[in-house]
Structure formats: structure tokens, C-alpha cells
């Protein structure tokens, strides 16, 4: 399904994620989670659905002029499309929170035969379990710590990235540049 002339799948996924999350490709890659999240999405919705999303994204980007028009196109091509919209909203939450949310209806027409390889294990009630697909879960402890929400909040993940003694008494950071 990858065409030799096009950028590889991971790069296309990161490109999509940049528009979805508002973080740069550099910031996304620095989480170290890009490949894991791609695998998660593939495991949950399958290659065909992801291809469709990436095609719609490409169409929206090629058609746009201004930022406002791009936003409108993305809403028309992705967010406002019932099945695809649910998935892209999930991709945002995957990046922001390190969590996959169970989708209301199983969006996959043809599940990937290798779905089980992508889903891995997770924690439920404190015990590692092999998870069924389409189940709300934290991808991993690392994905939780890498959640972009903490960066958007100008904070650090609760439970990690300690800022040091007495730093909580200092004035808050200003908004990031750019």
C-alpha cells in the first residue's frame, strides 16, 4: 500500500499528526512515540482506513490556500466525516494523553490480520492483560509521560519529569514562542 514515489507511512502519519495536534514534527518525534502510535492506529483501524485518512488529509492540504482554508478543508475531509472523524479525534487524544479510546462503533470494515501484533499488553486493575481491540487503555507508562497535554499546559507529567525542589514556587512559564 505504500507507493514508491511517496514518503514512507510513518512520515505521512507524522505530517497528519502535526496538523491534528498543533505541535511540530520535531516536537512529535521527540516524544519517541510516533512509531508506536502508528502501530496502535493500524492495529485498531487497519491499513485501509488509515490510507483513506491520509488520502483525505493530502487532498485537504493540496487544496488549501490559507491556514483558515486548511482548517475548513480538514473539517470537511476528516473531522466532519462520521467514521474518519472519530479516528482522527482519537489520534489527537493518542498524542495528547498517550491513550487509545474505544471507538463507539467498530470502525474497521476489514481489520488488519496482524492486529494482535499491534495491540500488545496493557494494565487493567493493576495487572498486565492481553487486551481485546477497541478498548480504552493507556498505551504504556512511557506514552503517558510523553503526553502532549502536559506540554500544552506548560507543565510536566504528573508522576515524572520532576522540575526540582522549590520550582513550584517560582512564577509560571510564559507561553512558548511561535
Amino acid at each position: 500500500m505504500t507507493h514508491p514515489a511517496e514518503p514512507d507511512l510513518l512520515e505521512r502519519f507524522v505530517d497528519l499528526s502535526v496538523s491534528l495536534t498543533g505541535f511540530s514534527a520535531f516536537e512529535l518525534r521527540s516524544t519517541g512515540m510516533a512509531a508506536t502510535y502508528l502501530e496502535t492506529v493500524l492495529g485498531e483501524v487497519g491499513e485501509e482506513t488509515l490510507d483513506e485518512i491520509l488520502d483525505h488529509f493530502l487532498r485537504a492540504r493540496e487544496a488549501h490556500g490559507t491556514e483558515a482554508e486548511l482548517e475548513r478543508q480538514l473539517r470537511a475531509e476528516l473531522f466532519g466525516v462520521p467514521r474518519l472523524g472519530a479516528v482522527v479525534r482519537n489520534v489527537i487524544k493518542l498524542w495528547y494523553l498517550g491513550q487509545w479510546y474505544a471507538l463507539p462503533d467498530d470502525p474497521v470494515d476489514q481489520p488488519s490480520p496482524q492486529r494482535h501484533l499491534y495491540l500488545g499488553r496493557g494494565m487493567q486493575a493493576g495487572r498486565a492483560v492481553a487486551l481485546a481491540s477497541n478498548q480504552t487503555r493507556v498505551v504504556s507508562g512511557e506514552s503517558y509521560l510523553q503526553g502532549l497535554a502536559w506540554r500544552a499546559m506548560l507543565a510536566h507529567p504528573m508522576g515524572g519529569r520532576q522540575q526540582g525542589y522549590s520550582t513550584w514556587g517560582e512564577p509560571p512559564p510564559g507561553p512558548p514562542g511561535g
Binding site: 498543533g22 493493576g126 480504552t136 514556587g169
Partner: protein, 619 residues
């Protein structure tokens, strides 16, 4: 070495939480042979096991207080996720508790080596002197058989053992006093930027209760987490912070991981394993995965003759061995609710009939708002300051008092942020990309919460009981709980809400507080709705008093009916006041240690038969 003869222990302690650990260490230091039976697992005994708990937390979907501590069917524990609204006549059996209602008991605890200090916030406030005789002063609750002054020395022992960071100058309010020259082991934990802004914004503020004026003062909270040692401590000897168990150079100072509840990744926060780890290993044996199931009584003497317990290897499996432990003195230190459950399972209701009754908590009400400007929320410990100046006064004859805990973690508790905010902005707000990121940056850093901990007086109708229909997979009883809030308490919730409105008005903060009628903790009072949660402060189930008809234990936490049995912990507290109870519980444990040492010494000098001490020369 303890372990060979069934009569080779001087003391058997049920429970390795803060009370049990303090008693084990102190009695071991005095040369007594101690066996501690802990129902749960001992993850925190070594640092790798503790890190496993940290990992469990990081990957947990709902980061509730028990989310770091794996479900153990052989030693089950309550979880706030189990709490449901209760339909009258239909007890809720979702979780470990059987909740009869009418209202759900909102608190949880940990059944693991270290107990609930594994997930506690770390607040170490002393009770007010007036908290000890509320019946006499205000006509509510029960009087303690001891006073604040009786606990002065023991509070200091507790503050030493836990390692409290605080400044005495901040804590001398409403009658709390310290001996001349006393300082805490470490200096106050630095206040958060939010605290400082609140202190500025509320400067000079006062509120009126029943015609009397009370100041509203933001005060640094003394807490059991490592800070900067105070060189003046202990007559100039200073204090050496205690780091992580098994990794002593880690956790020597709080570094702002902001996950005190449920787990401090570096153990800068105190947990009871730090105390247990200091116990003399030649004298103190600790057996985990050993659930006490019965207190055995000698019918003719009324003395305890042993503790029956179930030892299991695999938490998932019900298979176990039933054994007995014998000693001269027995101590139940398993938590207020577990102590009561164990006594009832043993047929011990006490002459007073009060075992299990007077179950208390601190109902907590939350309010949340946005400061006009960023305060950099979600940084530091969960709370570094509070408003303590409203905790006492004559209004207590009419309504329950409260303390205000200032929350540093944004709307993490009230709205489940950042998860709640991301869901809402993406799914309802239809934001994405830069707009989403910017919106979060514009709001989250301004979020803050106030938590009001309201005093709940003892009420005989609030109780723990047992029922043969409700057992865990080892065959031990599950606690059956009957719980309600009186108007006295609800009036306290309402007063707290009123004060929060004044605070937000004064600050120009945008109030987002909203209480949901469908939530389990929703109650109405005077035509308004409020929502309460549990503070994790189980207490009152074996109160202390002046005689066997009005209490279960004496002021040393010794059972009136069974002279070689001590029942220790917050369950002994006749009132909870408005302070988080752990420091007082620890002080009481030190006080009991003195009495137990005296009892053991007297037994050693007495006839050989009951002493349980091998090879001692007889008087």
C-alpha cells in the same frame, strides 16, 4: 530468632502500616521479639518492587489513589472507582465494601506493606486542643480521655519519625502550642506560586460566623516529605532525611513529581516502610501475605491466646495455609475498618458494644476556579498551604468546622484534567491543532481547586459490620458499611461553599464549581446541592474512653475487656477534628508503645507461664 517456637514472640502485630511499623520498630529497639503480619504483598520492601508499583500507576487508566497498588483478591481493598449511588434496600456490592448506605462511604485504604502511607498526600497537621473535648465545649461528638497537652511529646516523636517539614511560627493558631524552642526536623516545604498569589489576594480577609469574625489566612502546611533539614533541630543536632527504602540516596528532598497521591516515584514522601526498614531484623520479623482471620480468646481468662491467619503464596489463588501466631501481647493495627472487621469476626463486640460503630471520615467538598492569570498549576506537591484559621470556634455548636486545603494540581481532581479537558475540547469544542494547544495553554495554568475537609462527629449509626453472605476468596469477611451525613456535617459543607464564593470573589477568580445530582456523593441541604468525597481518613471504629461501657479501648489503646490486646490506629479516635489524622495516629502509637513496653516488662517479672519469653530468669 523468631519463627521456631510458637511462643517465641513477645508481640504479634497485625498490619504493617504506620501504627504497626512504629510499634514494631520501637518495641524491637527495646529488645522485644516482634512478629508483624501483613495481609498484603510487600512490593515496597525493595526498590525494584516499588518501581513496579510506579509503573502500574503510570500505565493505569484511572489514576485514582489506589491505582499504583495492584488488585489482590486474597487481601482486597476498597477503591474509589467502586463507589456508586446506593438504592435503598439494595446494598452496593460492586467493590470490596458492601455499602448499605444511605450514602456511600467515600474513602479507600491500602492493604500492602506500608499501608495507606504509600498513597497518602503527606499532610501532618496536629489536632486543635479544642478537638479533644467537643462534647463538653460544643455539645457534639465525644470527649477524648486525654488532651492535646498529653500528646505533646508524642507529636514530637511522630514528627521525628515521619520527618516533617514545617515552620513552627506558621502553626501556632487556635491554641496549638509547642514547647519553647521546638522546631520541626526540616523547614517548611516552599509554598507554591498559587499559595503566594492567594496569600496576597486574601490579605486582611475575614469571614463572619454567627456574629464572630474569623481571619482567612493562607498558611504553609506541615508535611511528611523531605525538605531542607533545620540545623536547629534536636538541640542543634540537626536531622538526616531518610530517602527511599533500598535506595537511600534517592528522595532526600521533594523534587516536584506531582504524584504524591498515589505514589511518590522517589520516596521523598514518607511511607511506613521507611520505619519498618529501621527495625532491628534480629528482633522484628515481618511476614507479608499473611491475613489475620481471627483473634483467638482463652474463654476462662479473657486473654487473647493467638492470632489465626491465612498465609497465601499467589494473590490470585485462594489456596492458603491456616496458621496461628502466639505472643504475650497482641496489637491490631490493620486500619480502623479492618480492625473492627477482625474483632467482629472473632466475636469481640466489647462490653461497650461499640466495636465497628462511630465510623468516621472527613467528607471533602471541592470547589474549582480559574485565576485571572497563570499560576503555573500542576506543579509541586498536591498541596503546600491551606487555610487553617477557620477550623475552630464557637460556631461548632451549630455546624461542623472545616479546614481548607489549597490544591496545586489544577482541576485534576474536580474535572479529571487533563483528560477531562482534552476530551471536552476535542469532542465538544471541536478544537484541533494549534487552536487546541493554545486553548489548553490559556486555561490549564490558571486552574486551581480548594478542598474543604469537614469534621464528621462520631455517630453510632455509622458502622462497620460483618455478614456471612459477604466474604472474599480466602473466606474472610468483607466490611459491611452503613453510612450517612447529618445536617451538622452538611451545614459544614454548605458553609465551606459559601466561604469559597467569597474567596473567589475577592480574587476575581472565575468560579466553575458545579455539583452533579447523579453523582454518588450528591447531597442537598437547605435547598442547595453539594457533592462530597472521602478524604481517605477512616476512623472511630474502636474509640478510646474512660471506661469499658463508653469505649472499646483506654487512652493507651488497650482493650478494656482483654488486657493483652491493643487495638491501635485512627479507629481509637473519638473525634477527628479537621486535621488529616495520620500524625495524631502516629503520636498515639508512640504513646501505646510506652504502655506496651511497661506491660511486657511487668509480664517478664511475673509468673513464667504466660510470659512467652523463653529462658528468662524468674523474679
Amino acid at each position: 530468632m523468631p519463627g521456631e517456637s510458637v511462643r517465641s514472640y513477645d508481640v504479634v502485630i497485625v498490619g504493617a502500616g504506620v501504627s504497626g511499623s512504629i510499634l514494631a520498630k520501637v518495641l524491637g529497639d527495646q529488645g522485644w521479639r516482634v512478629l508483624v503480619l501483613e495481609a498484603g504483598t510487600a512490593d515496597a520492601r525493595g526498590f525494584p518492587g516499588y518501581l513496579g508499583d510506579v509503573d502500574t500507576y503510570l500505565a493505569a487508566l484511572a489514576k485514582v489513589p489506589n491505582s499504583a497498588y495492584a488488585l489482590n483478591p486474597d487481601a482486597p481493598q476498597p477503591d474509589v472507582l467502586d463507589i456508586e449511588k446506593i438504592t435503598p434496600g439494595h446494598p452496593d456490592t460492586t467493590g470490596y465494601f458492601v455499602q448499605e448506605g444511605p450514602l456511600p462511604y467515600g474513602s479507600d485504604y491500602v492493604r500492602s506493606l506500608g499501608g495507606t502511607t504509600l498513597h497518602w498526600l503527606g499532610t501532618t497537621l496536629r489536632m486543635l486542643p479544642e478537638d479533644f473535648d467537643t462534647a463538653t465545649r460544643f455539645g457534639h461528638g465525644l470527649d477524648w480521655p486525654i488532651t492535646y497537652d498529653d500528646l505533646l511529646g508524642h507529636y514530637e516523636q511522630a514528627e521525628n519519625e515521619i520527618g516533617v517539614s514545617g515552620d513552627v511560627e506558621d502553626q501556632e493558631y487556635l491554641g496549638i502550642h509547642f514547647p519553647e524552642g521546638y522546631v520541626y526536623p526540616m523547614h517548611r516545604i516552599p509554598q507554591s506560586y498559587l499559595d503566594k498569589r492567594l496569600a496576597e489576594g486574601l490579605a486582611g480577609m475575614s469571614v463572619d460566623f454567627q456574629g464572630e469574625s474569623y481571619p482567612v489566612r493562607v498558611t504553609s502546611t506541615p508535611q511528611g516529605r523531605n525538605g531542607m533539614p533545620n540545623p536547629a533541630y534536636n538541640g542543634g543536632q540537626g536531622y538526616l532525611p531518610v530517602g527511599a527504602v533500598g535506595e537511600p540516596t534517592l528522595g532526600l528532598r521533594c523534587a516536584g513529581n506531582s504524584s504524591c497521591i498515589p505514589i511518590c516515584p522517589i520516596q521523598a514522601k514518607y511511607n511506613a516502610v521507611k520505619t519498618l526498614a529501621k527495625a532491628d531484623p534480629a528482633l522484628v520479623g515481618v511476614q507479608a501475605q499473611a491475613v489475620a482471620s481471627k483473634v483467638l480468646l482463652d474463654a476462662s481468662t479473657g486473654r487473647v491466646s493467638g492470632i489465626e491467619y491465612k498465609a497465601y503464596r499467589d494473590p490470585a489463588s485462594p489456596s492458603h495455609q491456616t496458621r496461628e501466631a502466639q505472643a504475650s501481647i497482641y496489637i491490631l493495627a490493620a486500619h480502623a475498618i479492618e480492625n473492627a472487621k477482625l474483632l467482629l469476626a472473632s466475636g469481640i463486640e466489647s462490653t461497650s458494644g461499640m466495636v465497628g460503630h462511630n465510623l468516621m471520615d472527613h467528607p471533602v467538598i471541592q470547589m474549582w476556579a480559574l485565576m485571572p492569570d497563570s499560576i503555573g498549576s500542576f506543579r509541586g506537591p498536591g498541596s503546600t498551604s491551606g487555610i487553617e484559621s477557620l477550623r475552630g470556634g464557637s460556631f461548632r455548636s451549630t455546624r461542623a468546622p472545616f479546614r481548607v486545603e489549597i490544591g496545586n494540581w489544577g482541576w485534576n481532581w474536580s474535572e479529571g484534567d487533563p483528560w477531562g479537558q482534552v476530551d471536552q475540547l476535542v469532542d465538544q469544542g471541536n478544537l484541533f491543532g494549534r487552536a487546541l494547544r493554545d486553548r489548553m495553554a490559556a486555561t490549564a495554568p490558571r486552574q486551581f481547586e480548594l478542598h474543604m475537609l469537614v469534621e464528621q462527629p462520631p455517630d453510632g449509626a455509622n458502622r462497620v459490620s460483618i455478614d456471612h453472605r459477604f466474604r472474599d476468596q480466602l473466606g474472610n469477611f468483607r466490611p459491611v458499611i452503613h453510612y450517612d451525613l447529618t445536617d451538622y456535617v452538611k451545614a459544614g459543607l454548605a458553609a465551606g461553599r459559601d466561604v469559597s464564593r467569597l474567596i473567589f470573589q475577592r480574587l476575581g477568580a472565575e468560579d466553575f464549581t458545579e455539583y452533579d445530582p447523579t453523582s454518588p456523593g450528591y447531597v442537598t441541604f437547605d435547598g442547595e446541592g453539594y457533592e462530597y468525597f472521602g478524604a481517605g481518613h477512616g476512623a472511630g471504629t474502636h474509640v478510646m474512653g474512660t471506661d469499658s461501657t463508653n469505649s472499646v479501648v483506654d487512652s493507651w489503646q488497650r482493650s478494656w475487656d482483654h488486657p493483652n490486646l491493643y487495638v491501635v490506629g485512627c479507629g481509637s479516635m473519638p473525634t477527628v477534628g479537621t486535621s488529616n489524622p495520620t500524625l495524631t495516629m502516629a503520636a498515639l502509637a508512640f504513646r501505646s508503645a510506652d504502655a506496651i513496653h511497661r506491660d511486657l516488662t511487668a509480664l517478664r517479672r511475673g509468673p513464667a507461664i504466660d510470659s512467652g519469653v523463653d529462658g528468662e530468669a524468674q523474679a
